[in-house]
Symmetry: C2
Subunit: 284 residues, 2 copies
Amino acid sequence: MQLWFSEIHTPYVRLDMQIERHLFSGQSDFQRIDIYESREFGRVLILDGFTMLTEKDEFVYHEMLTHVPMAINPDIKKVLIIGAGDGGIVRELAHYDSISAMDMVEIDKMVVDACREFLPLTASKLDDPRLTIYYEDGLKFVRQKTDEYDLIVVDSTDPIGPGEGLFTKEFYGNCSNALTQNGIMVNQMGGTVYADDILVMQRSFKRIHSSFPVARAYQAHVSTYPGGFWLLGYGSKGLHPINDLKAENWRALGHKTRYYNTKLHAGAFAMPNHVLKMLNEALV
Amino acid sequence: MQLWFSEIHTPYVRLDMQIERHLFSGQSDFQRIDIYESREFGRVLILDGFTMLTEKDEFVYHEMLTHVPMAINPDIKKVLIIGAGDGGIVRELAHYDSISAMDMVEIDKMVVDACREFLPLTASKLDDPRLTIYYEDGLKFVRQKTDEYDLIVVDSTDPIGPGEGLFTKEFYGNCSNALTQNGIMVNQMGGTVYADDILVMQRSFKRIHSSFPVARAYQAHVSTYPGGFWLLGYGSKGLHPINDLKAENWRALGHKTRYYNTKLHAGAFAMPNHVLKMLNEALV
């Protein structure tokens, strides 16, 4: 017997992965959660039919959403993490002794519980003593915060289902208010290959651009995301993502990373022309 | 009725694209050739079951194999192209008035004929008066050449079937001999995501490294190639791919590109750590 999971990338494109073993399925108040053991990608977390992470390539996404801002501002002490119930963002941030507190706001406790049990690779640091987990709506949580966080990482699902509020203009404005003077916000914006993903990415970029004096997109190659070429967003009140990179400082920390390095850092912000065009069109 | 083409990326991963219309199938002396009209990617050229190009993203691959070397050495005049029967490489090179002659060596005339008829997007410059097409084995052709070409572009299939000889040590040595003092060779090396593609890529990189004093890998994001994260090879006797970039010179030419730009140029050579590891392991 062969079991295949097919992810619908567009009505005309599917990626199929062969499944070795079913590990978990649950319907929470917010979404359907599935975890499978796949033959090529290791364990896979699927929310509402969309691949959130695979053990084979999750390091790309999680490293790029954490080490990029940490290498720009080594003084980051207090971090807000929105979403990220699988724990991958916390795992990367936990490397930094300089971080004193992490607040993680995940709307869906079932995701955290399932990942603790079946995805130890990403959930390994969810017991870090610096971490507080709030099972709340990130949109509401961030509304109450002012000048409090040095870094906000928005690791959301796409704006269908529980992630919807995290793509609104209000949300990005509140993130800006919640950040300290040298604060940085990073988020998952969307893809660059298929039309629906591009629209989501453009909407997100437009809102970051209207909420932050410094707004940029940067790229990460996540093979199991639709089209593989994914954009992350960068917003800050003043820190430039390349000019303010503290490369030597970061290298001196000695973190062992599998994707990120300080040479790649600048390259990640250098976009192909067709993507620059999408980003420019988003601002019209 | 729905017709789907499934490309086998590994025994456990497939990419499916819905087909609108069958345009061409043929069995040449060398390989099976199929051209389909797909709904998402436009027309698709498939050799022996593997996607060689789609109209949607072929610009990435063709631009990166041509403008990268042309922006490093603006004095390139005589070019040898191996493979590339679809015409995409020639189309990009034809923009340069500075090029005086292009020799294209494609083993399979049926590919060229089919692409002329069904892939006008890539085959559009195959009648450029500077172009001579030789329907021969590239391996044998390059053996007879010394100090003749300023650029060699190796746009080969993978080393199964007709592309096999183009991944041998002898071939890269002969390319080095065929190049002028400031000559550059670029080639398609292989993928970075799936094990079989990585082995091919590593073998190719090892051979470039042993044949050229300057040997590097650079990346291009081609969504329809397995895993999407593809490596191209760069070999030269002395020109450094970044230090010798003539960025202003290239921009002054005013070429309209969809992927390549001179900022991205350096970024394309900045590899993630896991890919650096693959490249280093190839040289052990």
